[in-house]
């Protein structure tokens, strides 16, 4: 009898409710532009700014969150490496409220540290924009951000080439002038 009661209790305990809250926001229809941003020739030690536009197409105001995302290699553009550090990208706030049927602009700043090791980089990172929702299904839109830095890292080959060039040309020039000035 006790076993049966325990079993019945266990079955009852195995019942659970899995449903989303119905009191909060429903699906949000929104768009983000531009879908892709290229920043080229950005020197280490400098920063560049651009604006993202979030368009809330709903009749209610909604909160949107913005965050960076490191895409896996197979999803990056050809020849692009992983962006070295997410903290180089900043927004005024990671959350923004957009009124109904309105657009809002978010200023994104990309600042590359001064160290020369960041010269000559070709990187990609994504900026994810999502509407805050407690529904089971949610949508996130990514903006591709492709950043290329100028300058060359310390190029040992180039420096060695310059030194070898000076030596060879110097020797060649020396022998040329010596032969030219030698009496016949």
């Amino acid at each position: 009898m006790i076993r049966r009661i325990k079993l019945a209790g266990l079955i009852a305990a195995l019942l659970v409710i899995l449903l989303p809250s119905f009191t909060l926001a429903q699906d949000v229809n929104f768009s983000v532009s531009p879908a892709e941003v290229h920043i080229d020739n950005l020197p280490p030690g400098e920063a560049a700014e651009f604006e993202l536009t979030i368009h809330n197409k709903e009749k209610l105001a909604h909160n949107f969150t913005i965050a960076t995302f490191q895409p896996p290699e197979e999803d990056r553009r050809e020849g692009r490496a992983e962006f070295p550090d997410d903290s180089w990208i900043s927004f005024p706030s990671q959350e923004i409220e957009v009124a109904s049927n309105s657009e809002a602009n978010v200023t994104v700043t990309v600042a590359i540290p001064r160290e020369q090791q960041w010269a000559g980089g070709d990187w990609e990172i994504w900026l994810g924009v999502a509407a805050e929702s407690s529904d089971l299904l949610a949508v996130k839109l990514y903006v591709r951000l492709l950043v290329s830095t100028t300058g060359t890292k310390f190029n040992a080959g180039l420096v060695a080439g310059i030194i070898v060039g000076i030596v060879l040309l110097g020797c060649g020039g020396y022998y040329y002038f010596r032969r030219k000035t030698r009496p016949e």
């Binding site: 409710i17 899995l18 989303p20 892709e36 407690s134």
Partner: protein, 180 residues
Amino acid sequence: MKAVITSIVVAIILVVIFSLPALAQDSDAITITMTGVNDISISLDKTQWPLGEVAADTEYMTSPQIEWCTLTVEGNCNVNTFILGEDAEWIDNPSAYKWTLSNDGTNGENVYGLQFRISGDTTRGYVPVTKTEGEFWPYGGGSSLAPGDTKQFGLKLLTPTYFVGGRQMQTQITISAVAA
């Protein structure tokens, strides 16, 4: 002596002249290019799946099974889409109790499985939704979705073999898109 000095000076001048293009690469202006007026957007015609009370170790499918929700590409650029799941948390105290999302659609004690299936996708069938962003459409190098394209899909939930009853659990599946 005069020949030596002249030779060195000429050599330095020649080498500097030829290496200038390589050294001058640092002087370009910064350019920021926004790709056209591309606007990225997708929409889902359903975002909730109210299951009510569920039993342990049981499979639940959306109805209709694989045409339950329609994803539509709304923007003006082609997109690749992805899907991401997460652990289900107890609404009353998320940090105190959760069901862990398995990475292969199977279940266990306090571990649940979640899978999706796209209508017309006979190659993959049901695909596990995991905590790592996975391909939704396209997959395996197929064609991306163009503006106006739609994809219908359904979900399958496998509840844990054991869980603490009487607790309202909540989870979220994120479908994301990026310009193809």
